[in-house]
């Protein structure tokens, strides 16, 4: 997936708004107020991109709804004008999922950012979709609970965006991804109706529409309020940094920890090039001479944490760990995590551009998968930094490059394709947490049969029969709705930078 991009590169000019948009804009202003609608080039440019380098997004008017009623009004106006609607959160997505195709009305949900209710008796909180992930956990801290999914972008990404992508994060190894933490969700459907999917009872009646909606990348409706599950803060936490002279030893340690029946809260792996970039950037205290480090966190009741961390220590040493460091206090723990979460920013010191992949492989095959990645990258004469959720086999190889070098972008794409294909051949999956978006849309046929994709299309069409919500994503063109009046063929094809 195309991750960061050259700063200040605005070569992809935003086309001028169609003259016909004047009536649409006037209706949107009438519906939700002039201060909540923007159609100038700057607003549309910003709403045309996400954190990938996909450059073909093309936003129509951008609305900033402040309430569910505003969202309903925008959807109805868009429909009346024959336009699709694309919701977006903070735009930190890495697969082009929030890049609008075909000049839809864009709904930026960032003004709906309130914590509506903390319901400790029912172990949940109702939040608006624009609330920032980390703000939620900070607001919950006085109650001794937190919101478990913690994507690397948690300081800026929103709960609504997390919901759309079924986002993960390091601690999802033990706690599960976003879907496991969404109890119910109020959504606005493409016909402007408002419905609550799931409820806060133990076993809601009917199909698990909540589960079907989570991870639907904005294509099934727009979330306007989310009931998230609160996770009790563990009484004890042990954060360990395991260092190795050989990447294979680190990978073997991961497999051995899982095989020993230990499920840590997180197992993150970083290779030497990544560690050095992080140290230059964030000074997390990682040893720069190690070929690979594992950041392992064990949590739970204190006795079990002591036992499990001791076992992890033993497994690491049996796999030739050169050192095992245990965070002595909360400050050291925070510093170790700061390093891991700064990894993507740190790449900027290595190369001006990067392509961040996200595939999943069986966690028992990490040793051979990493060998294959290095082999592929070497063959294409590229640089790779590996930083990933090793515990669940979720790879994030970062191909760092300089797009000014002729031919390098093509080599990055070729290597990326090989990494994706290799992951699937190893018994893996296309994406573990970043989503399909436009980036991996055409790979879907490599993982799923025509029957499988037809079934996925039925899920989407049950929510949105006319494909008005964020069209052109996830399903390869042959399997998506045929009736996408608002989506122009030229936009749907897409171009990757």
């Amino acid at each position: 997936m195309l991750g960061s991009h050259r700063r200040g590169d605005r070569s992809a000019a935003v086309p001028a708004a169609d003259d016909t948009d004047a009536a649409l804009i006037a209706d949107l202003v009438k519906a939700i107020g002039a201060d909540r609608v923007r159609a100038d080039a700057a607003a549309r440019y910003l709403a045309s991109r996400d954190a990938s380098i996909y450059k073909e997004g093309n936003a129509g008017p951008v609305c900033y709804p402040g309430s569910t009623e505003d969202v309903v009004a925008c959807v109805k106006v868009a429909t009346r004008h024959g336009r699709a609607v694309s919701p977006r959160g903070a735009g930190t997505g890495l697969a082009g999922g929030a890049a609008p195709l075909g000049q839809p009305v864009v709904l930026s949900m960032t003004r709906m950012d309130k914590l509506l209710e903390v319901d400790l008796d029912n172990g949940l909180a109702w939040v608006q979709p624009g609330m920032v992930n980390l703000d939620l956990s900070r607001a919950l801290a006085p109650h001794g609970v937190h919101y478990a999914p913690d994507p690397s972008s948690q300081a800026v990404c929103t709960i609504g965006g997390n919901l759309a992508n079924n986002s993960g994060g390091p601690h999802c190894l033990a706690y599960g991804v976003t879907s496991a933490h969404v109890v119910a969700v109020e959504v606005v459907l493409s016909d402007g109706s408002v419905v609550t999917l799931g409820d806060i009872t133990a076993e809601p009646a009917g199909y698990d529409l909540r589960g079907a909606f989570v991870g639907s990348e904005g294509m099934c409706g727009i979330a306007t309020a989310v009931a998230v599950r609160l996770t009790r803060n563990p009484p004890a936490v042990c954060t360990m940094l395991l260092c190795f002279e050989d990447v294979s030893d680190a990978a073997a340690t991961v497999s051995a920890i899982i095989a020993a029946g230990i499920v840590p809260a997180a197992i993150e792996m970083m290779d030497q090039r990544c560690v050095r970039a992080i140290e230059d950037f964030a000074q997390a205290g990682y040893p720069e001479d190690a070929a690979a480090v594992l950041l392992v966190e064990v949590d739970g009741a204190s006795g079990g944490v002591a036992i499990a961390s001791e076992r992890v220590d033993g497994i690491a040493r049996r796999n030739q760990a050169i050192s095992v460091r245990i965070a002595a206090d909360e400050d050291e723990r925070a510093r170790l995590w700061k390093g891991r979460k700064s990894a993507f920013g740190a790449v900027a010191n290595v190369m001006p551009d990067y392509y961040l992949h996200d595939t999943v492989v069986p966690r028992t095959r990490l040793v051979e998968v990493l060998e294959r990645i290095y082999e592929i990258v070497d063959r294409h004469d590229l640089l790779v930094l590996n930083v990933f959720h090793a515990g669940d086999g979720n790879l994030h190889p970062i191909l760092a490059y300089d797009s000014r070098v002729p031919g390098v972008v093509e080599r990055v794409h070729a290597a990326g394709r090989e990494i994706i294909e290799m992951s699937l051949d190893m018994g893996g999956a296309l994406t573990g947490e970043h989503g399909i978006g436009v980036e991996k849309r055409e790979y879907m046929e490599r993982m799923f049969s025509a029957v499988d994709l037809d079934q996925q299309g039925r899920l989407r069409a049950s929510f949105d029969p006319y494909c008005r919500m964020n069209p052109g994503k996830v399903l390869p063109s042959a399997h998506s709705c045929s009736d996408i009046g608002a989506l122009r063929a030229s936009d749907a094809a897409g171009v990757w930078g």
Binding site: D121, N122, N166, G168, V177, A180, L189, S193, V195, I200, T201, A202, E203, P204, A205, G206, Y207, D208, L209, A212, V214, R232, P234, S255, V263, A301, S302, G303, G304, I307, A308, V360, P362, R363, D392, G427, G428, A429, L430, T431, G432, H434, G435, I436, K440, M444, M447, F448, S449, V451, D452, Q455, Q456, R458, L459, A461, S462, F463, P465, V474
Partner: protein, 309 residues
């Protein structure tokens, strides 16, 4: 990779065929959940057997007709289990389609989170694969979540890849006479807290040192004795909020005898739960899903997840 299906699955698909009303029979432990099959509905049985258990991966691929108890017996050889509840004779497919989580849900998690990949026969008789063979995946729409609890009305599951996890080193059921359920719930190792309005039963699961520490805390709450297992559960299942379940006795005289799952919201009662209002929009979406996935209404006719429990 696009899958090749094994013979058991293709045989099952051929048996389901492309037309005519059909329902899948598991262990018949929750046969009338959401309604009984309409008269004249042909019964089929999903294939049985464990296809591949990979303890180091913490996954198991199993055919839907396999009894959960048989599956768990195999997983226990490596100290693992799944979140699926065990009912006498109940099958993997039945547990997934009923979607009812175990009474140890606080420790085991929900059934709906156990399913990583499903291979199922669609309404037109073809085999579809949903999800991925890995423990983490967001490739496309989440059909697995949709299938769990669908009572076989959207597709008939033939094979499932399930998440497994280690069984606690120590597991102990204890009963506390007249204790506060909330106080028991605060034990970190409590995988289940059941309350019948008077007494509290709890399953403590984890490392022995932590279970012992929690036992010590419970002893401080009053009379505490080891028991073989949970109390007998009344037959009907109510879906309440955790707060409603915790206050159940004072609110529902009509429920009869009850056992409430504290921290969860399921209440087992001797009388059935009165019908719960469902939003018209939810009813409409349920109808649309059924129509899209099974346009001729041939899969488990007579059953409707909206009528659960």
């Amino acid at each position: 990779m696009v899958a090749d299906f094994d013979e058991a699955l293709t045989t099952f698909a051929a048996e389901v065929g492309p037309d005519g009303p059909v329902c899948a029979r598991g262990g018949r432990t929750r046969w009338s959940l959401g309604g009984e099959p309409a008269p004249g509905t042909r019964e089929v049985q999903a294939p049985a057997g464990i296809v591949a258990f990979e303890p180091a991966e913490m996954t198991v691929r199993v055919r839907a007709g396999t009894p959960v108890a048989e599956l768990h017996a195999e997983l226990a050889t490596a100290g693992q289990r799944t979140a699926l509840p065990e009912r006498a004779g109940g099958t993997v497919g039945g547990a997934l389609m009923a979607g009812e989580s175990s009474i140890a849900r606080l420790g085991l998690g929900l059934v709906r989170e156990a399913l990583l990949q499903a291979r199922y026969v669609c309404a037109d008789g073809q085999i579809a694969s949903a999800g991925a063979p890995t423990v983490k995946n967001v490739s496309g729409f989440d059909l697995c979540r949709l299938l769990v609890g669908s009572l076989g009305t959207l597709g008939l599951v033939g094979e499932a890849l399930l998440r497994t996890f280690p069984v606690g080193e120590t597991e102990r059921w204890v009963r506390l006479a007249g204790a506060e359920a909330d106080a028991v719930r605060s034990c970190y190792t409590a995988a289940s807290v059941l309350w019948d309005g008077t007494d509290v039963w709890t399953l403590l699961s984890g490392y022995a040192v932590d279970v012992d520490k929690d036992l010590g805390r419970l002893a401080g709450l009053g009379a505490c004795e080891d028991v073989d297992g949970p109390p007998e559960l009344p037959p009907h299942r109510w879906s309440c909020t955790p707060a409603e379940a915790a206050a159940f006795d004072s609110r529902n005289g009509a429920a009869g005898r009850f056992v409430a799952e504290i921290g969860v919201g399921v209440v087992h009662a001797s009388e059935a739960q009165p019908p719960r209002p469902v939003e018209p929009g939810v009813v409409e979406l349920n109808r649309r899903f059924k129509d899209r996935f099974d346009p001729h209404g041939r899969l488990n006719p007579g059953r409707d997840p909206l009528r659960k429990p």
